[in-house]
């Protein structure tokens, strides 16, 4: 211990460790305060009045919050599954092949939703969907499912592609040598090994859909409130810790899923 203190640390830079620690504290402290005040006994967001579950109970009995939360879960599940299936198919088509014409275009298309500012995508969807709505009269959840699926595809695609690139082809070639038809080879050989990537892709797509507020807020029709759009709508009113309680309920699944993805990726 004493010896290591005297040894010259090649990698150290003065002050960096303090900045790094402060950065972590700064990243978590505001969220922590938000969560703590969800348990406040009074309606204050700045003065601690004792511990209570009242605001969670209140949020739980608020139909607006519960319906918004259920709709968020529904949307994230449907869009997450669709995006993951499409992204898996696309990743299989686009990896493990020689570079060919059109591949670059496909790749650019898949990643396009990542590049365009969300407000621009939201506005352009508003324009198109408004026209389709007035032409067809349909104003159901299809618009939100379509929009969410589109921006979830690149997030689902990334871990699946990464997993595919790391896989070697020997087993599939062996299956083909043993006269397995391509579909069977995929089902019994490729899919099980690709599964961790697909699971990670679905989880990321799910979280991204669950978190979206800008596109959902501009595309939604009446009665299609998600938890984030409900919370955005609450800003101008007198805010109580009920919003903090709703936020905490939204935070928990996101943090659990991201930690799970981290653990899955590390096992690789």
């Amino acid at each position: 211990m004493a010896a290591s203190q005297h040894a010259f640390d090649l990698k150290a830079q003065p002050g960096f460790s303090i900045i790094a620690r402060l950065a972590i504290v700064a990243l978590y402290l505001p969220i922590l305060i938000l969560v703590v005040f969800a348990f406040n006994a009074t309606s204050s967001l700045g003065v601690w009045g004792g511990f209570s579950f009242d605001w969670f109970v209140k949020a739980w009995h608020n139909d607006l919050i519960i319906n918004a939360a259920l709709f968020s879960l529904f949307l994230a599940t449907v869009a997450g599954v669709l995006a993951t299936v499409m992204a898996t198919m696309a990743a299989i088509a686009m990896t493990r092949t020689d570079a060919y014409r059109g591949q670059l275009v496909s790749y650019a298309l898949i990643n396009q939703p990542l590049i365009v500012p969300e407000i621009v995508t939201a506005i352009s969807l508003l324009i198109v969907f408004a026209a389709v709505k007035s032409a067809t009269g349909y104003s159901g959840t299809g618009y939100l499912v379509l929009a969410h699926t589109a921006f979830c595809i690149p997030f689902a695609y990334l871990p699946i592609r990464a997993r595919l690139e790391g896989m070697d082809l020997t087993l599939e070639t062996a299956a083909a040598d043993l006269y397995a038809d391509p579909w069977k080879a995929f089902l019994h050989v490729t899919l099980p090994r690709l599964a961790p990537g697909i699971v990670a892709g679905f989880m990321l797509a799910f979280v991204i859909s669950l978190d979206d507020v800008v596109i959902t807020d501009l595309v939604k029709s009446g009665g299609q409130e998600t938890l984030p759009t409900y919370m955005l709508g609450q800003i101008r009113r007198d805010m109580t810790p009920e919003v903090n309680a709703a936020a905490t309920m939204l935070l928990v699944p996101s943090i659990l899923l991201v930690t799970a993805v981290h653990l899955i990726n590390r096992k690789k």
Binding site: P14, F16, Y28, P30, I33, M231, I255
Partner: protein, 308 residues
């Protein structure tokens, strides 16, 4: 010979068709719900505006584009500079640049510190950086709002410490928006810098010290140049969402401290000027594209300099 070539060609077309079918659903979805609508928006930007929102389809007009910079005075019908738009443009660029610089100054030391930890601890540190990145942006902005509000903990602490006697107005200022941008986009700066530092060859650092370089010389002449791609990537990853920010200025800036995203949204709400909103959206898209081109040029130039 020719039959083998033919067989290979048939196989290649069959294979090609299979690949197309596999990627068609994903590409079609993105074309329908992301790329296509952008093209429609381009068309809307050159249409005359409708009386009650929307556009007068088929009535070609450049008003949307000229309204970005000049507008007709409602009283004497002369053209005046649309200074409200230009002020918002300038605020967006300024806030995005300062936020990028601030995240760079905090993110680089953080990424460096994490990259120089033992391998086991490193992945735990990175998880700590990643969790906020995947956490709802609206909730994180709410958290900053709670912190800065007049009844919030920061004001309470300052009053308790006797530094101020009544709450200081921190919310709904440019400073609040800037703090929000730095807070929500900091992880985007740390991740790519960490990725390029992790691959760095620390033998170079050792060689530097062997040649009697000081710590700051090693930092400026060895560490920073070798993680330049990460620094550029992080800056672009922060700048792009920051300049297009919508939620952060809406929540922390209130109605007065708008950024481009809010100005665009306004044209489709109260403003009822869809062609102007479409033209503004395309302006934002152009700024983002220019930033991306700078990034791609910067990173590819780097690879050539090192011989690939």
């Amino acid at each position: 010979m020719s039959s083998i070539a033919e067989m290979a060609a048939t196989r290649r077309t069959a294979e090609g068709r299979r690949r197309w079918l596999l990627k068609a659903p994903a590409l079609a979805t993105i074309v329908i719900a992301s790329v296509g609508p952008l093209a429609v928006m381009l068309v809307y930007s050159v249409m005359a505006k409708g009386a009650f929102g929307g556009v007068a389809l088929g009535h070609f007009s450049l008003d949307g584009w000229t309204n970005v910079f000049v507008e007709r005075d409602p009283f004497d019908d002369t053209l005046v500079l649309a200074d409200a738009n230009l002020i918002i443009f300038w605020r967006s660029i300024k806030l995005a640049l300062v936020a990028t610089l601030a995240t760079l100054l905090i993110g680089f030391p953080t990424a460096y510190y994490i990259a120089t930890r033992p391998e086991q601890v490193r992945s735990q540190w990175m998880l700590l950086i990643t969790i906020p990145f995947w956490t709802n942006l609206l909730i994180r902005t709410f958290a900053i709002m709670g912190l800065l509000s007049n009844q919030g903990p920061v004001n309470n602490i300052l009053i308790w410490a006797g530094l101020i006697d009544k709450p200081m107005q921190m919310l709904f200022t440019d400073g609040a928006v800037l703090l929000g941008l730095v807070y929500v986009y900091l992880p985007l700066m740390v991740l790519p810098i960490y990725a390029s530092l992790e691959r760095m060859d620390f033998n170079l650092v050792e060689a530097g010290y062997d040649l009697y370089a000081t710590r700051s010389k090693v930092l400026w002449h060895i560490v920073i140049p070798s993680c330049k791609p990460g620094l550029i990537a992080g800056s672009i990853l922060v700048f792009i969402p920051a300049i297009g920010a919508y939620v952060t200025p809406r929540v922390l800036g209130g109605g007065k401290n708008m950024m481009m995203g809010n100005l665009i949204e306004l044209q489709f709400g109260q403003g009822r000027n869809w062609p102007l909103g479409a033209a503004l959206s395309i302006c934002l898209l152009v700024i983002v594209t220019v930033a991306l081109i700078i990034y791609i040029r910067g990173s590819s130039g780097k690879e050539n300099a090192h011989g690939g």
